[in-house]
């Protein structure tokens, strides 16, 4: 989240979409309700089903799963056309005024400029800003140039491509395109190639009629919602604020990243980012999923969101040059470009990982780091195993078979593996894959996979931190010791690591140094205390480090008070720069339990600790106008104090503390531009600088915007015999989505009689009309079939999902809660069909975040 749970109470307007917080985050949901109760805030809920969240909404809209960009694009268009934006914010805090390179083409036909159909990858060289400074007032000239180029009959993309080819030296790969250091801009926003005009043009296609055709939301309902959501900017009001709240209903698509970008763009246009009660707020679905992400639980990042090395990074300097951005902004503006500190973060990380073995001379032991040569997302790992390339897997804290997608493929993959290690509390589907339905005793004899079950400890048996959706690190104590032979994760991992190291010591190996020289200086190497690990992640001084501005010195061996002290000369170490400051010399800030809230904004500065540097709302410089005064004096977060010459406030300013408003430093300090991106340049997003509506990979219709480029052109599908995809022509014409219930937690609580009592059996939610058509009554068994598998459960016939008119065609949606499988109380009593919901879901993933499309795939439905 840019903001936090408690901060939601400060809002005037909520759009909850792609998430069902009442169901999945009932405790946090008290704050949206508080905003309604205490501020008369309005809540709009958009979902394929009338959910528990919709129960308390002021307006509910039923949307077809996977059409969120069409809806949000419609909102953007509405806000632009009705002047429901914060103009000062848009001009100064976003790249709206920046001029885009000639040759950039909008996707009227579904493709941006630079698409190579052979590789299905874009050449992003035209996705860039123009070099050139202040063009304000020179819009007419720009327009003429554009017109001249068009008149000459040349497709702008071709002009640029030809130029690029001519410039490239034969044999050598062209240098990667860079952002221009002095960006061309037009503060009047009138330049035809300004981001603002391109944005307006792009989303002008998202008319209410088009929104209705794609999403199934009737035009009148859409216009009512658009008017309500943007009403916070009615008549030039800049005081009110609105928030957008989402979860995996947005991420689990083949364009998930772009849905979230569309939301971010809408919030930038309305001037809602950085403000109390505003922001773009991801609700994380596990107690510590934020922490897992921060600590690089994903293959393409290192801790603190540093990019992973790739094979082309020959040495540390090449790597660091590639990943450290240079400021790219209008000359007259300032940009903090905080990622320019990347070398300090990277060197400190390598020092934490390899200790004395990392030195300036050996490039900080950069060569010990693995170089990631391709995608290693979870779906790819299963695919690799299925194709025999991966021979074994450690499954900790995940039920890989049940998670899917296409669970049967994962089961087939495990049959081919040599070994499987599962650390769990219960015997789960993954460690019992050889007992899954359909595998006979005869089949079992042919499975040679060795399965190791390691008894893990439950959350209440572990200490350490949880990092919540609001980026708060909160320490927890163990409530009781693990039972029986169960062990803490850190003990299991440490003992495996030490055993592997011992083998390397004894037997050598291809590349032992990365293992042998890893720092492992815990008091108890076999079971490192999480206190020691947390302190190591925070980082410490290896030599005396002095901050020049304040003349504060941190002595060698002391904990660092913040990432401002991290150095790139090897004098500091730190496992994750974002967590630096969480455990300074004075003690663990994540253990604080102060309940003071002097501002009344729910900041609670002395409760736990949030990254970065205890800031509760990120980019909070944007909560003030250009002169440094809060947009709303009743919700003062930070402000410019002229007398003191610095930014002060109730929250910690997320900004260069002494940057005067006159310097015009952008509030979005993590972007080299310093401003929020309405247009994403170069390849930071793989599928286009502006989000475009593409149909889900399996869709009941051809995309009304461009039927011949219906789905996301850069999506890669998998190609084994088990990767099957269905079409309406084959009879797969019901849109299916999957989700969790508040009564259960993933595939875990089906082992707990209390949860089983609350919701005993798997079911499928079906609209009354579809049930009538198919002769299905509530409680009847139904069979849901996708191109991959079939799923049998009882029907829940409901009014809460209604038939929709999609592009003129009656279309039904159904929904399946994911919680059951073939291990668990009711499963083992023989009361269910022992199917996994994710046997149905397709192996197709988002090109940016690699998240599978669990929402909105196609199925058939019949009475079983």
């Amino acid at each position: 989240m840019t903001n936090g749970w408690i901060d939601m109470k400060n809002t005037d307007m909520m759009l909850i979409m792609g998430g069902n917080p009442a169901e999945n985050h009932p405790c946090g949901f008290k704050w949206p309700i508080e905003a309604k109760r205490a501020r008369n805030a309005k809540m709009i809920v958009v979902d394929p089903r009338f959910t528990r969240t919709a129960v308390v909404a002021d307006q509910f809209l039923q949307i077809r799963a996977g059409t969120d960009i069409a809806f949000l694009g419609g909102l953007i268009s509405y806000a632009l056309q009705n002047n429901r934006i914060n103009k000062e914010y848009v001009v100064n805090y976003t790249n709206a005024a920046f001029v885009v390179k000639e040759g950039f083409k909008l996707p009227e036909d579904g493709l941006y400029s630079g698409f190579d159909p052979a590789t299905q990858v874009y050449n992003k060289s035209t996705w860039n800003y123009e070099e050139g400074g202040n063009l304000t007032g020179k819009a007419a000239a720009g327009a003429t140039m554009m017109a001249a180029a068009m008149h000459a009959g040349a497709h702008p993309a071709m002009v640029v491509a030809a130029a690029a080819t001519a410039a490239a030296k034969p044999g050598a790969p062209p240098p990667p395109p860079m952002l221009p250091p002095n960006v061309a801009y037009d503060l009047s926003l009138e330049h035809p190639r300004s981001v603002y005009q391109l944005l307006k043009k792009h989303y002008s296609r998202y008319t209410p009629e088009m929104v209705e055709r794609i999403t199934g939301i009737p035009k009148e309902q859409f216009l009512k919602a658009a008017d309500l959501f943007t009403s916070i900017r009615k008549d030039g009001d800049t005081k009110k604020v609105g928030t957008i709240i989402y979860a995996v209903g947005w991420t689990q698509h083949t364009f998930g990243t772009q849905i979230i970008r569309t939301a971010a763009m809408l919030q930038l246009l309305l001037g809602n980012v950085g403000r109390a009660g505003g922001g773009v707020n991801a609700l994380r679905g596990h107690a510590n999923i934020q922490g897992a992400t921060d600590m690089a639980g994903v293959f393409d990042i290192l801790p603190g969101y540093l990019k992973v090395p790739v094979p082309n990074d020959k040495d540390f300097d090449t790597y660091i040059n590639r990943i450290t951005p240079k400021a790219a902004k209008p000359k007259e503006w300032d940009s903090f470009n905080y990622w320019s500190n990347t070398p300090r973060f990277a060197v400190s990380l390598l020092k934490a990982m390899y200790g004395d073995a990392a030195s300036k001379e050996n490039g900080w032991a950069f060569h010990y780091l693995p170089k990631v040569d391709r995608r290693y997302s979870v779906t790819d790992i299963w695919d690799d195993m299925y194709r025999g390339k991966v021979k074994g897997i450690f499954a900790f804290g995940m039920n890989g078979v049940a998670i899917g997608p296409n669970s049967k493929k994962n089961i087939e993959a495990l049959k081919k593996a040599d070994w499987l290690v599962v650390c769990e509390l219960f015997p789960d589907e993954t460690s019992s894959f050889w007992e899954s339905p359909g595998i006979t005793a005869e089949d079992q004899k042919k499975i040679n996979t060795t399965v190791y079950r390691l008894p893990g400890a439950g959350f209440a048996e572990k200490d350490g931190t949880f990092v919540n959706s609001a980026r708060w690190l909160q320490w927890k104590n163990a409530a009781l010791p693990p039972p029986g032979e169960a062990k803490l994760d850190q003990e299991i991992l440490a003992r495996i690591f030490l055993k592997i190291r011992e083998l390397y010591q004894k037997e050598g190996g291809k590349f032992p140094d990365a293992i042998l020289k890893a720092a492992w200086s815990y008091t108890n190497p076999n079971n490192p205390s999480l206190v020691e690990v947390a302190k190591e992640i925070n980082g410490k001084a290896l030599a005396d480090v002095t901050d020049e501005k304040t003349q504060t010195t941190i002595k060698a061996g002391q904990q660092l008070p913040g990432f401002g002290f991290l150095r790139d000369d090897g004098s500091t170490s730190g496992g994750n720069w974002l967590y630096c400051g969480s455990w300074p010399e004075a003690g663990p800030l994540m253990q604080r339990r102060g309940t003071e809230d002097p501002s009344g904004l729910g900041i609670y500065p002395n409760w736990g600790w949030s990254w970065p540097m205890n800031r509760r709302v990120m980019y909070n410089r944007a909560s003030c106008d250009v002169s440094g005064k809060p947009w709303d004096p009743s919700r003062k977060q930070v402000w410019w104090n002229e007398a003191a010459g610095k930014w002060v406030g109730n929250d910690v300013p997320d900004f260069k503390p002494d940057s005067k408003p006159q310097d015009h430093m952008g509030p979005f300090i993590m972007n080299p531009e310093g401003v929020g991106r309405l247009f994403v340049p170069l390849g930071f997003v793989a599928d286009g600088p502006f989000p475009e509506h593409y149909e889900p990979f399996e869709s009941p219709i051809a995309n009304p915007l461009h039927p011949y480029q219906s789905t996301n052109p850069v999506v890669k599908k998998f190609k084994t015999a088990m990767d099957k995809y269905g079409t309406p022509a084959e009879g797969y014409n019901v849109v299916c989505t999957t989700y969790r219930l508040t009564e259960h937690y993933h595939y875990w609580t089906k082992n707990n009689p209390m949860n089983v009592q609350l919701v005993p059996e798997p079911f499928v939610e079906i609209p009354e009309e579809l049930a009538r058509e198919k002769g299905i009554n509530g409680g009847d068994k139904v069979r849901v079939t996708s191109a991959r598998a079939e799923y049998i459960a009882k029907a829940m016939v409901t009014k809460r999902i209604r038939p929709m008119k999609i592009d003129g065609k009656t279309t039904y949606q159904i929904g399946i809660p994911i919680h059951w499988g073939y291990r668990g109380i009711v499963e083992e009593e023989g009361k269910t069909a022992k199917d996994l919901a994710n046997e149905l879901s397709p192996t197709v993933i988002d090109p940016n975040a690699h998240t599978p499309e669990f929402k909105g795939f196609l199925v058939k439905l019949e009475k079983a």
Binding site: P26, T742, Q757, L758, P760, K799
Partner: protein, 304 residues
């Protein structure tokens, strides 16, 4: 409110004579407020109730609903009832109502109960069952206008929500209140809860467009110590059958207010008669002989 005052006994079922300790302390009535308009049906209250009261699990079956089971049970005292309701304008409502004992000011169960001390109403408004005195007659079940008390055939006793009289007696809120994550449940004095409820109902009428929003605290049974805020207080039946004008069955009212006093008078008169009979007639004298049996009455004739 001090803890002792909260569990001061006011009425006792089937108990002759004055209530012990009555009238010695100030009355403060407690109340649970359920704002059905902010309930999300998460069932945290159901789980908290089962756990605090250590109630055994029971197998449930899927019944085309999110509702855990059709009705409250002897081992399930707190149940959220779910109902899909389509309004006239075509919009949908998913009404969720936490169902449990309403702790009536005029409790039908207590009126119906003949067992000495099986049902107690405390001065704070809590109506509590004392199973050790329960005779299993189930009169309370039929006396309740909300279908709450449930019979356990194994123990032959009746059970229901106690409003956590054990917790409230110690100055704590009921377990369901403590567990509620959205703040749709509140607990306090009846006066405070009534005020909070009316404020919320006004907000719903003025801001959220629910013209008929209001508070459910039915006068027909003297009010309840569990009250609701409803979007549509004119039609409480929409909320899975919340009765509009709940009432105690006439027979039980008559039992307590007419027949029981009459019976007492009758019994007293009978005793007085016996005494007078003794005074005027003296002790019973020995009868000389037993009269011979009467002949069988002919078929079809019933002798009274």
């Amino acid at each position: 409110m001090t803890e002792r005052r909260t569990l001061q006994t006011e009425q006792i079922s089937g108990h002759p004579g004055p209530v012990p300790g009555m009238g010695m302390q100030r009355n403060l009535e407690v109340c649970k407020l359920i704002d059905a308009t902010t309930c999300i049906g998460c069932k945290a209250c159901e789980v908290a109730c089962v756990e605090w009261n250590d109630l055994p699990f029971q197998p449930t079956t899927f019944d085309n609903t999110y509702q855990t089971m059709p009705e409250t049970n002897w081992n399930y005292w707190n149940l959220i009832k779910f109902r899909e309701h389509q309004r006239e304008d075509g919009t949908l409502m998913w009404l969720m109502r936490k169902d449990q004992c309403m702790h009536c000011a005029d409790p039908g169960c207590l009126a119906a109960c003949p067992a000495d001390g099986a049902i107690v109403k405390y001065a704070n408004g809590i109506v509590d069952f004392h199973q050790e005195n329960c005779i299993g007659c189930e009169f309370c079940v039929s006396g309740c206008p909300f279908n709450i008390p449930k019979f356990n055939p194994a123990t032959k006793k009746v059970y229901k929500c106690t409003l956590c009289s054990d917790r409230v007696g110690q100055g704590l809120e009921p377990a369901c209140i403590k567990a509620c994550p959205t703040g749709c449940l509140h607990f306090g004095t009846k006066e405070d809860m009534k005020m909070l409820a009316e404020t919320r109902a006004k907000q719903l009428r003025d801001v959220s467009g629910f013209k008929d929003a209001g508070v459910y605290d039915p006068e027909s049974i003297g009010g309840t110590h569990v009250i609701y805020v409803l979007h549509d207080a004119k039609n409480p039946e929409l909320y899975s059958g919340l009765p509009k004008d709940p009432s105690i069955p006439f027979a039980y009212k008559a039992w307590k207010s007419i027949f029981k006093p009459l019976g007492l008078i009758g019994a007293t008169l009978g005793f007085v008669g016996v005494v007078f009979h003794y005074v005027f007639e003296g002790p019973k004298r020995e009868q000389p002989e037993v009269p011979p049996p009467k002949p069988e009455p002919p078929a079809g004739r019933k002798e009274l």
